[in-house]
Every structure is written in structure tokens, then in C-alpha cells.
């Protein structure tokens, strides 16, 4: 409670000012006119109590017995009428004044109420704004602890609300009490006025009765009294009715005011609730939004993380696959290289074999066509030729050395000449020029 008060000093000050205003209005509402003397008033005043009603009746009897004369009565009537007129005018003035005072008081009260309400509304709005600000700040500051804080805030709000409600209630209660007090005062004042009126009337009646007793006969006095009584009663009734009407009107007005206040209060409450609700909804929406944002952020983060993880996993898997593929490719290359090397070796062997086989055929081919001159035993020649793919000697017959006679050397050359076309190199192996070059040792 004190915390709340300490927390909202403006409200406290407002409440104090409000009370001071009410007290001031209360004092202002008093009728500070001088209390009239009985003689001056013409109507004796005595406070009527339930116990004093009977003796009053006795006084009436006494008054009946002292009934004035008709002249007196007429005179008295005239006086009465004049007094009555004066009284009525006085009453009317008083009433008007009172009405004005009440109106003023009411207006003041209304103004104060309005001011207070405005202040309260402002306070509420301020509070709401502050709360919203606090909430916003808190929300902005601590998104992750929003829920807890919101709960705490809500708790605080509830407490504040409760305090405010209590305060409001107290204020209302006080206002109500003040109103009631005022009403009571008004009623008391009214009753006093009525009493005074009644006393004045009784005094008048007694004066009338004394005058009538003096001036008129007892009957006339009685008739006059009766008439006066009747009129008085009628007047009283009329006044009562008027008072009642006024009271009813006041009551209705008050009720209307109250209703209005209540309505306003409800509306305010409604507005407050609405504001609170809106704030709450806003806060909730904000929280929800924040939550959603957070969830979204978390989701995004999670998704990003998952995506990153998946990407990393994918990359890792790709790297693994690549690594494996590279290793497999390297192995395959190694194997294929080995196979290729083996194949190359085999091919080269085959190629070499083919070359040797082809060379052997060339050798026989030339040998069969070489007709060395007789008697050349021990004579040697070395001949180098390159055989084209079509089996012809490409770059001439190169006799590198020849130890024999001209005939012998010629026979060597002739041997190659007549050997054309030589067996063609096997096209399958695409022999190089050097592969197709053969040196013959002829002896």
C-alpha cells in the first residue's frame, strides 16, 4: 500500500487536494446567515421532538380557546398574507440561494469530480503509459524473460489495479460519504428550515389564534384556524410535495449523477479495462509477437543452424565422397596405369615380336634374292635400309661397309633392289621410322 503510495505521489497529492476541495465545499455549503430571533421572525421556533407533539396539541386547544375576532382575523390575515408573501419570497430567495449554492456546490463537486476523474484518468493513462513504457522497455530489454516479467508486471498491475481500485473505492466512498454528509446536512438544514417554518407557522397560528381570540369569536377563530390549518396543511403538503419533489428531483439528479458517475466510472473502468485489455492485449500481442519473433528467430536460428549443419554435413559427405572417389580414382588410375603398363609391356613385347617376325621375313626375302658372285666367302657387307609402310626402300640403300669386290658390293645392292617390294611392316603396330630401319650384315 505504502509502496504504491510512494510509487504514485501524484495520485496521493491529487487525492489530498481532492479532499481539501471537498472539505472546502462542505464549509461553503453552510448557510452563514444570522439566525433570526423569534420576535423578529414572528413565528416561535421550538425544536419538535416526538415527545413534544402532544403538548403542542394542548397548546392548539389553548389557542383555539383564545380565538381572535374577525377584524383581527382579517387584519391578521392581511398581515399574515404579507408575512406569508415575505416569507415565501424569503423562502424563495433562500431556496434559490440554496439551489444556487447547491448548484454551485454540485457544479464544484462535478468540476472536482471531473477534475479528479480527469486526473485519475490521466493518472491511469500515465500509469498505463508508464506500464506500457516499462513493459516495452522490459520487453525490449529482456525478451527471453518476457513471460516471467510480464507475469510479474501483471502481478504488479493487479496490485496497482487493486490499489487504484481501493484508492478509487476509498475516494468514491469518501465522495459518497461527503455526498451523504452533504445530503444529510441539506436534509438537516431542510428539516431545520421546516421546523423553523413550522415554528413560525405555529407562532403565527398562535398569534393568529390569540388575535382571533381577541378579535373574533372562537368559531370564527376556529374556522379561521381550520382554514389556516387547512391552508397551512395544504401549504405544508404543497411544500412537502415540493420538497419531496425537489428531493425526488435531487435524488433523481443525484441518482442520475451517481448513475452518470457510475456510468462514467463504468465507462472509465471499461475504458481502463479496455485500455488495460488493449495494453494487455498489446502486451500479449507484443509478447506473442516477441515470442513469435523469438520463436521465429529461434526457428530461423535453428533452421539456419540446421541448414548450416546440413550444409556442413553435406559438404563433409561430399568431401568424404570426393575423398573416396579421389582415392578410388587414384587406385583405379594406379591399377589402370599398372594395367596400361602391363598392357604396354605386353604390347611392346608383341610389337617387338611383330617387328622381329617382320624382320625375319624381310631377312629371308632379301636372302632369297641375293646372288653374290662366286668366291666371295668371308666377304661382308653392312647395309642399312628403311622400309616404308608400303614395303619399298625409303631412303636408298645405304651400304655402310663392304669388304668384298665391286661385284660383291654390287650384288648386295642388287639384292635389295630386286627385293622390292619388301614385306610390308604390320600396319597394326604403326612402326616408327626407326622401327622400320634394318641393318643387314651380309656374309
Amino acid at each position: 500500500m505504502f509502496k504504491l503510495i510512494a510509487k504514485h505521489p501524484g495520485a496521493v497529492i491529487g487525492a489530498v487536494i481532492f479532499h481539501l476541495l471537498i472539505v472546502g465545499l462542505f464549509f461553503l455549503s453552510f448557510d452563514w446567515t444570522k439566525k433570526p430571533e423569534v420576535a423578529d421572525a414572528g413565528i416561535p421556533i421550538s425544536l419538535v421532538s416526538s415527545d413534544s407533539l402532544e403538548p403542542q396539541a394542548n397548546n392548539v386547544a389553548e389557542e383555539e380557546s383564545a380565538k381572535p375576532s374577525e377584524k383581527d382575523l382579517l387584519k391578521e390575515q392581511e398581515i399574515k398574507e404579507t408575512l406569508k408573501q415575505e416569507k415565501l419570497s424569503q423562502e424563495k430567495r433562500a431556496e434559490e440561494k440554496k439551489v444556487e449554492t447547491e448548484k454551485l456546490a454540485q457544479e464544484t463537486l462535478e468540476e472536482e469530480n471531473k477534475q479528479a476523474e480527469k486526473t485519475r484518468k490521466l493518472e491511469v493513462l500515465k500509469l498505463a503509459a508508464l506500464k506500457a513504457q516499462n513493459l516495452k522497455k522490459e520487453n525490449d530489454a529482456k525478451v527471453l524473460e518476457q513471460q516471467k516479467l510480464v507475469k510479474a508486471q501483471e502481478q504488479k498491475q493487479l496490485e496497482e489495479k487493486a490499489a487504484l481500485a481501493e484508492e478509487q473505492e476509498l475516494a468514491e466512498k469518501k465522495a459518497q460519504e461527503e455526498v451523504n454528509e452533504e445530503r444529510k446536512i441539506a436534509e438537516t438544514k431542510k428539516l431545520a428550515e421546516q421546523k423553523r417554518t413550522a415554528e413560525v407557522e405555529a407562532k403565527k397560528r398562535r398569534a393568529d389564534a390569540a388575535a382571533l381570540a381577541k378579535k373574533q369569536s372562537e368559531e370564527k377563530k376556529k374556522i379561521a384556524d381550520e382554514k389556516a390549518n387547512k391552508e397551512k396543511a395544504a401549504e405544508k403538503e404543497r411544500l412537502a410535495e415540493k420538497v419531496a419533489q425537489e428531493k425526488a428531483e435531487k435524488e433523481a439528479k443525484r441518482k442520475a449523477e451517481e448513475e452518470k458517475l457510475a456510468q462514467e466510472k463504468r465507462e472509465n473502468e471499461q475504458a481502463e479495462r479496455l485500455v488495460k485489455k488493449k495494453a494487455k492485449e498489446k502486451a500479449a500481442a507484443k509478447i506473442a509477437k516477441a515470442k513469435a519473433a523469438k520463436e521465429k528467430a529461434e526457428k530461423d536460428t535453428a533452421e539456419k543452424l540446421a541448414a548450416k549443419k546440413a550444409e556442413y554435413q553435406r559438404k563433409w559427405q561430399e568431401a568424404q565422397i570426393k575423398k573416396k572417389a579421389d582415392a578410388a580414382a587414384a587406385d583405379a588410375k594406379q591399377k589402370s596405369d599398372a594395367v596400361a603398363a602391363a598392357r604396354q609391356i605386353s604390347l611392346e613385347k608383341e610389337r617387338k615380336g611383330a617387328q622381329i617376325s617382320w624382320g625375319s621375313r624381310v631377312q629371308k626375302h632379301v636372302d632369297r634374292r641375293w646372288h653374290p658372285p662366286p668366291g666371295t666367302k668371308g666377304k661382308q657387307a653392312k647395309v642399312k635400309i628403311t622400309i616404308s609402310n608400303s614395303g619399298f626402300i625409303a631412303n636408298g640403300i645405304n651400304i655402310q661397309s663392304c669388304t668384298g669386290s665391286v661385284e660383291f658390293c654390287s650384288s648386295v645392292e642388287e639384292a635389295f633392289e630386286r627385293s622390292e617390294p619388301l614385306p610390308r611392316p604390320p600396319g597394326k603396330y604403326n612402326f616408327s621410322k626407326s622401327d622400320r630401319t634394318i641393318t643387314f650384315k651380309m656374309d
Partner: protein, 424 residues
């Protein structure tokens, strides 16, 4: 195991390096050139396949080619279902069997012969016109084939002249001078005599034969046309008239005459009988043979044993040609080759040498081989050899790879003479 201690990368590098090294190591020999040896002693001839030809010409051609020593005739069973002549032939399919395939047919009494190389499927067709001697048609075909393959002129369509002696130990002995085809077939005696006939020599036109005949009880040199039989005495001087040899121009005859006592070499003009003495030694100079138009190779024992000498046809000093052994005689020259008889330790063989070079090759392996005569292309040598007590004709190739005994008439065959190329 190695992989445990060597990192995989290094292992791969080593394997790669080894592979490359092996590749190079294997590749390097292939870059080396081939070195081959060709020996003169090889027995291989050019493999040739001859399809059947109607009339059996293929048999004659086969024998001719075999005799040359240049060919190895493939057995006919080696190739089955060879397309008949005229049908397309994929000769390359038989390149592993033969270098050449011969197909042919008789055509208008002659022959049409196709020679196909299995290496390049090249085909050559020869048309041989008819001849009264059908065998000559085949020989001519053989000459064509021979020449196509060896790039030397063939000498199958030539003749042999030789002397046979029948009943040589009795009083009825008969000497006959025969002329036959080069393979010995179709022998025809152009001269018969109870007195010795010897030393036939072909005139360069291959129409005449000079020979020595004792038909007049003394030796005389005659020249006889082989177709007409007309003969003319060239020399019948006192003493020995022997060993006539036609000069390449056919205008002269070299001969051995013993006018001065010992046989010397003389050259007689066939047309006017003019005689020119070539040698003047006191030794026996005989068996002249023309080496070109101006040179004569003869046998002389002027060195103590029969040896071959060469001298100018117009006379002059003689140059000894043979030094191996104690007996070298009976030279015959053709195509710059000189065939002669060489004796060693009682055996006589046929040897061949170049006219201008000293080295020689022994061609025959008989005990008593005599009278070598060269084919005009110098590729074959016909000679007499002792067989079953009688001399018979044999032909050996100049490389001694082929040797054939020729069929000959009954009797002792002596002194064959190979004719020059025939012009008709």
C-alpha cells in the same frame, strides 16, 4: 607390407615412377633398329606356288625354276581350292605360304601365265606363243617368271649339246652328238660317228655347233648347222685340232693346235680361215674360252700343273688365274662367271669363280665331275658326273642350292655345252 610403412602418396608416386620407368624400359628396345644377318649359305629359295596348267606346263616350269636354285617350289598340297585361272585371286591370303602364285592356261597352242605377288597382289600375265616344241613354251614361260622375280634373264629356253658314247669298250662304240633342251629333254643327235666326237661349242647365234671329230681318223674341227646338218671343216691341221670356242661375235674360233709341237691357243677366223697364235709356251695350252671379245682364258700346265690362265685374244703374256690345288682346267665363261674343274687329291669337282676375282666356290661334290658349261645367264652349270659307272649330265645352280641330273640317252655322256640364248 610395404604399404604399412610407406605413406600412400609416396607409394603412389613410387608406383607411378616405376610404371613410367617400365614403360620407357620396355619402349626403349622398340626404338632400336633391327640387325639381321643374311648368309650366302642359306638354302632358301623364293617360295613360289604353281597351279596346275593343262598340258603339264607347270611341271616343266617347276623343274626349271627349281634347277635355277633361286626358287623353292611350294608343294601343291599346301594350298587347297585355289581359284582357277581367270577367277579372282586374293593372293595376299597366301603370303605366308608363297611369295608368288602362278596360274595359267594353254592358249592357241601356247600358254597364258599369270604371276601374282602375294605381298602386293600384283599380277603379271605372259602370253607365250605356240611352238613346235611344246616344252619350249613352258621353258619360255619359266624364263619370264624367272626374269620377273630375279631381274635376271632366264636361260631355261636354251639347249644343251653333248656327246654320248655307247659301247665304249667294244669295237661298236658309237659317238653321237646330241642337242637337247636345257633340261635334257628332247635330245636329238645331230652327228653320229664310230670315231670320237668331242668338244662341242655353240656359236653365239645358237644355230651352229663347232666340234672336234676324228671321223677322218685325225682330229679336225668342224662347224655344223644344227638345223640343216650342214657342216664345214674349220681346221684339220697336223697334230691336235681341238677345243674350239666361239668368239662372242661369232666370227672367230679359238682352238688348241699343236702346230709347233705343243698345243697352243690359236684363233681362227671362221669366215676366211685366218689363224692367229695366241700362246707360244712349250707347255700344253688348251681349252680356250672367250672372256669378252678380246680375252681368252685357257688351261695350261706351264706352271707345272694344269691351271687357268688368261691372255689376250691377239696373243701375249698369259695371266694365271687359278692357284688353288694342282688341277684347275676346262674353264667356261658366261656372264662374267667362270666355271671350271678343280682337282684335289684325286677328286675333280666343278668350281665357280668370278672372272676378275680369285675366290671360288665349289659347286659339285662328285668324284669325277668334268666339262662344266655355264648357262648363258651364268646361273646354272651343267657338267658331267660319274654315276653308276657312266658319266651323266647334271646341272647345278651357281649358288649350289639346286642340282639336277638330266635325263640323257643311253651311253656315256660327255662334254656338255650350254647354248646361248635362243633367238628362235
Amino acid at each position: 607390407m610395404i604399404n604399412k610403412f610407406i605413406p600412400k602418396t609416396i607409394h603412389r608416386v613410387i608406383v607411378k615412377a616405376l610404371s613410367i620407368f617400365l614403360l620407357f624400359a620396355v619402349s626403349l628396345p622398340s626404338m632400336a633398329e633391327l640387325e639381321l644377318r643374311i648368309s650366302k649359305t642359306s638354302d632358301d629359295g623364293i617360295p613360289i606356288y604353281l597351279a596346275n596348267i593343262a598340258g603339264g606346263a607347270n611341271g616343266i616350269i617347276e623343274a626349271d625354276l627349281k634347277r635355277s636354285g633361286r626358287f623353292t617350289v611350294i608343294d601343291r598340297s599346301k594350298i587347297n581350292n585355289l581359284p582357277a585361272y581367270g577367277a579372282p585371286l586374293n593372293a595376299g591370303a597366301y603370303s605366308n605360304i608363297a611369295d608368288y602364285i602362278v596360274r595359267g592356261k594353254t592358249l592357241n597352242g601356247g600358254l597364258e601365265v599369270e604371276l601374282t605377288s602375294t605381298s602386293d597382289n600384283a599380277k603379271t600375265i605372259y602370253n607365250i606363243s605356240s611352238n613346235s616344241n611344246n616344252r619350249r613354251v613352258a621353258h619360255q614361260a619359266a624364263d619370264k617368271i624367272y626374269e620377273k622375280v630375279t631381274r635376271e634373264r632366264g636361260a631355261f629356253d636354251t639347249r644343251l649339246a653333248y656327246v654320248t658314247v655307247t659301247n665304249k669298250t667294244s669295237n661298236n662304240r658309237m659317238f653321237r652328238l646330241y642337242v637337247s633342251d636345257s633340261d635334257g629333254h628332247r635330245p636329238k643327235a645331230i652327228l653320229s660317228s664310230r670315231l670320237p666326237v668331242m668338244s662341242p661349242a655353240w656359236s653365239p647365234d645358237a644355230q651352229k655347233l663347232a666340234y672336234v671329230s676324228f671321223e677322218e681318223n685325225t682330229s679336225a674341227i668342224y662347224v655344223q648347222n644344227i638345223f640343216t646338218g650342214k657342216k664345214r671343216k674349220i681346221s684339220a691341221r697336223d697334230g691336235i685340232n681341238g677345243a674350239p670356242a666361239w668368239s662372242p661375235d661369232g666370227n672367230r674360233l679359238a682352238m688348241s693346235l699343236s702346230i709347233s709341237g705343243s698345243p697352243d691357243i690359236y684363233v681362227a677366223n671362221v669366215n676366211n680361215g685366218e689363224l692367229t697364235r695366241v700362246t707360244t709356251s712349250s707347255a700344253i695350252d688348251t681349252e680356250p674360252s672367250w672372256s669378252g671379245t678380246n680375252s681368252i682364258v685357257f688351261t695350261s700346265n706351264r706352271g707345272g700343273s694344269p691351271q687357268l690362265y688368261r691372255t689376250s685374244a691377239s696373243g701375249g703374256s698369259a695371266q694365271r688365274l687359278t692357284f688353288d690345288g694342282k688341277y684347275n682346267s676346262a674353264a667356261d665363261i658366261a656372264n662374267n662367271k667362270l666355271a671350271y674343274v678343280t682337282g684335289n687329291r684325286g677328286a675333280f669337282h666343278i668350281a665357280l669363280r668370278s672372272v676378275n676375282n680369285s675366290g671360288s666356290d665349289r659347286l659339285s661334290n662328285g668324284q669325277l665331275d668334268e666339262s662344266p658349261t655355264l648357262s648363258p645367264n651364268g646361273a646354272m652349270v651343267a657338267y658331267t658326273t660319274l654315276k653308276n659307272g657312266d658319266n651323266t649330265l647334271a646341272v647345278v645352280s651357281d649358288n649350289a642350292k639346286a642340282r639336277q641330273f638330266l635325263t640323257s640317252p643311253v651311253g656315256d655322256v660327255r662334254e656338255p655345252a650350254w647354248s646361248p640364248y635362243l633367238n628362235q
